[in-house]
């Protein structure tokens, strides 16, 4: 087994120490930072994501893998910065104004982080303008909006409209989620994407990044 396979295995087993040491070894073997990231860390997480979707493993297994991925990332980060390798993408996340539900949104954040995205979580009850300001500041290309109440869903449209108003809808895409949402309501409000749960959010966002 080569070192990248070992690293991928460590991720899949959710072993953070092994993930960190395997990353270190890969660096010592002079592998490129991007190669370690894509063929070791992310490769492991991708397998975990698939196995979770196939219902072979449980959520704690995914989260343990995500933690191991972070352990590897911490070791790799200086090299990534040096090599100018970007994270898989930057995403602004938050629950819209008037809504305090954050359990689902937090899960989406954990899974996205696990898949290698950089997440800026603005929390709950977030004003429309703050999402956009944060996206501009962090140069994020995606904003993820969560709403669990019928009464707060309209706040999503406000954000989408505001983005248009500011002439940013070409650079910044919106993905929405939460129990009252559907693909149909997402289309109606003019969101770019919708995902029904955290696992499909990762897949959808990966596709949005292409």
């Amino acid at each position: 087994m080569n070192i990248l396979q070992k690293l991928s295995e460590a991720i899949q087993q959710g072993d953070d120490r092994l993930a960190a040491s395997a990353t270190q070894k890969a660096i010592e073997q002079q592998l490129q930072a991007a190669e370690i990231l894509n063929n070791g860390l992310i490769a492991g997480m991708d397998i975990i994501g698939q196995r979770f979707r196939d219902m072979e493993i449980f959520l704690p297994d995914v989260l343990m893998a995500a933690r191991a991925m972070h352990a590897g990332m911490d070791v790799l980060k200086p090299l990534l910065l040096q090599a100018g390798v970007e994270s898989r993408g930057k995403i602004i996340l938050g629950t819209v104004k008037g809504d305090l539900h954050d359990i689902g949104k937090n899960l989406v954040a954990i899974m996205l982080k696990g898949a290698g995205f950089e997440i800026f979580d603005l929390g709950v009850d977030v004003e429309a303008g703050r999402f956009i300001d944060a996206a501009v500041k962090e140069k994020a290309s995606i904003i993820g909006l969560s709403a669990l109440l019928t009464t707060t869903m309209p706040a999503m449209k406000e954000i989408i409209d505001l983005l248009k108003e500011r002439g940013l809808s070409d650079q910044i895409k919106i993905i929405v989620g939460g129990a009252p949402l559907s693909q149909e309501s997402a289309n109606t409000m003019g969101a770019n994407s919708y995902a029904k749960d955290a696992a499909s959010a990762v897949e959808t966002i990966k596709a949005m990044m292409v």
Binding site: F58, P60, G98, L100, L107, L149, P154, A179
Partner: protein
């Protein structure tokens, strides 16, 4: 003997309560309200201003438990008593605040005013469901009035008390004013409560300013509150049932303290909506057997504390009116009723609390009836000595026209409505009506037989005026016309 379902030994229930006391007095709770923080500090609590965290004392908890009423009653729009929460009396109320309605084709869609009015009309005829709830949210009005509008329709078309809540604290005043219209004055409303307001802590261990505003306003007006902690096993509470119950007890006790500090004697239901968090599907499963055990377990804690109780149970995760829906709802109903939960919230709702079905409400009304029957237990009625009746049986060869039979059969045996097949004839029909068809024809029959409760015209007019003004305040000039919706 009334059968009693217990999931906790007395000593475990006490241990959970002791641990909750200890947690409140050590770890404390975050309370986002400066007035309450000051009131608590005055009573000896340690208040950490920068984190809004309050460390309670045992005295504060015990005083709240002394002040809270051990029971209370609810009254319908005419002022007649419908609920007495003493003596482990059990009542059902529909599940609340669904996002969708599931229609008779099994299709999920946005509910409209017409759906809500049909629901309220049906509820006047569901004999085994004692109160209405604001069951779902009509989509044809401005979302800012979503909460007050539901209460308005419930009061215009129904008579039973209403279990409700606000989506935003801004709706509280109008919802209180509507109740005052019905009762005549704030004092009369306090004497004869018409609604219960749901107030949820934000698990884990937090009361947000918005919820506190509503809780405080309810307490000041002596409007009953149901405290509903919403833990999820293994996610935002311990994966073990006992551990989740400790967290649940901590949160509910903290809410109880807040309500009694604002106004000692505020009526409170010790409620709960603890659920299993499904680690495979990332859903909160209310139909899981452990969620039902948590509902009964949390009620047992409430009973141990001497309080009337509430829980979300007798509902289903299933997306359809199918065998799973019947099984989960029926099983929960029997468990909840035999556990003596005072107000059981569930009937009609399914799909992880997200959808409501009128046809399911019809079926669930029968589950409630059966559960209420089971909870009464087996009591002797002219059964001793038995020999005279046996002699009659031997002599007549049957007891069908015996005095004993005729005296007791209607009370002893429950006769379900036509949605329950007891006829043994469906199997002989070429294409027997499905459960959905039977339930739907019952929906039609009840709607046809609906009689409007006699709410005085001046009260109707005043309710309409209030609602129109509230709608206008939020930019909606016209409300859906009732005649278009019936």
């Amino acid at each position: 003997m009334k059968p009693t379902l217990h999931f906790l030994s007395d000593s475990l229930a006490q241990q959970i309560i002791d641990e909750a006391f200890h947690t409140l007095c050590t770890l404390g709770i975050e309370i986002q309200d400066n007035t309450l923080l000051s009131l608590l500090a005055e009573r000896g609590a340690t208040v950490k201003k920068e984190s809004s965290r309050v460390i309670f004392t045992e005295d504060i908890i015990n005083n709240a438990l002394k002040d809270v009423p051990s029971t209370f009653c609810l009254y319908d729009i005419h002022g007649h008593q419908t609920h007495d929460f003493s003596h482990a009396n059990v009542h059902f109320t529909p599940g609340s605040s669904a996002l969708h309605i599931t229609d008779k084709e099994g299709i999920k869609r946005k509910p409209m005013t017409a759906d809500y009015i049909q629901y309220v009309k049906l509820m006047t005829r569901m004999d085994h469901i004692a109160s209405q709830s604001t069951a779902f949210v009509p989509d044809d009005v401005n979302e800012q009035i979503a909460d007050s509008y539901r209460l308005y329709l419930s009061l215009m078309f129904g008579s039973k008390p209403v279990v409700t809540g606000t989506f935003s604290e801004k709706s509280f005043d109008i919802m209180k004013s509507m109740q005052i219209v019905i009762r005549g004055s704030e004092v009369a409303l306090a004497e004869k409560p018409l609604t219960i307001f749901t107030c949820c802590p934000n698990t884990p261990f937090k009361w947000t300013d918005e919820t506190i505003t509503v809780l405080t306003a309810c307490a000041k007006a002596s409007i009953p509150i149901e405290l509903v902690s919403v833990p999820m096993t293994g996610f935002i509470s311990p994966v073990t049932l006992a551990g989740t119950l400790i967290l649940h007890t901590v949160e509910n006790l903290s809410g109880l303290i807040l309500s009694q500090i604002v106004n000692p004697g505020t009526p409170v239901l010790y409620g709960g909506c603890a659920s299993v968090y499904d680690m495979r599907h990332s859903t909160m499963s209310m139909g899981a057997v452990e969620s039902m055990m948590l509902a009964c377990g949390s009620a047992q804690i409430g009973q141990t504390l001497g309080l009337p109780t509430q829980a979300y149970i007798a509902l289903s995760d299933s997306a359809h009116l199918d065998a799973q829906a019947g099984m989960e709802t029926g099983m929960g109903a029997v468990m909840a009723a035999t556990a003596g939960i005072s107000n059981i919230s569930g009937p009609g709702i399914h799909d992880f609390l997200n959808s409501f079905s009128l046809e399911k409400l019809i079926l669930d009304n029968e589950s409630c009836a059966m559960a209420l029957r089971a909870a009464k237990g087996i009591e002797p009625k002219e059964d001793f000595p038995a020999i005279p009746l046996f002699e009659e049986l031997l002599k007549e060869t049957h007891l069908l026209i015996s005095d004993h039979t005729r005296r007791h059969f209607k009370k002893e045996i429950l006769f379900p409505g036509p949605v329950i097949d007891r006829s043994n004839s469906l199997t002989r029909t070429a294409s027997p009506p499905t459960l959905m068809e039977r339930a739907h024809s019952e929906v039609r029959r009840h709607l046809h037989a609906y009689e409007a409760p006699a709410l005085a015209e001046d009260k109707r007019q005043e309710l309409m005026r209030l609602m129109k003004a509230e709608a206008a305040r939020h930019g909606q000039e016209h409300l859906p016309n009732f005649s278009d919706t019936e």
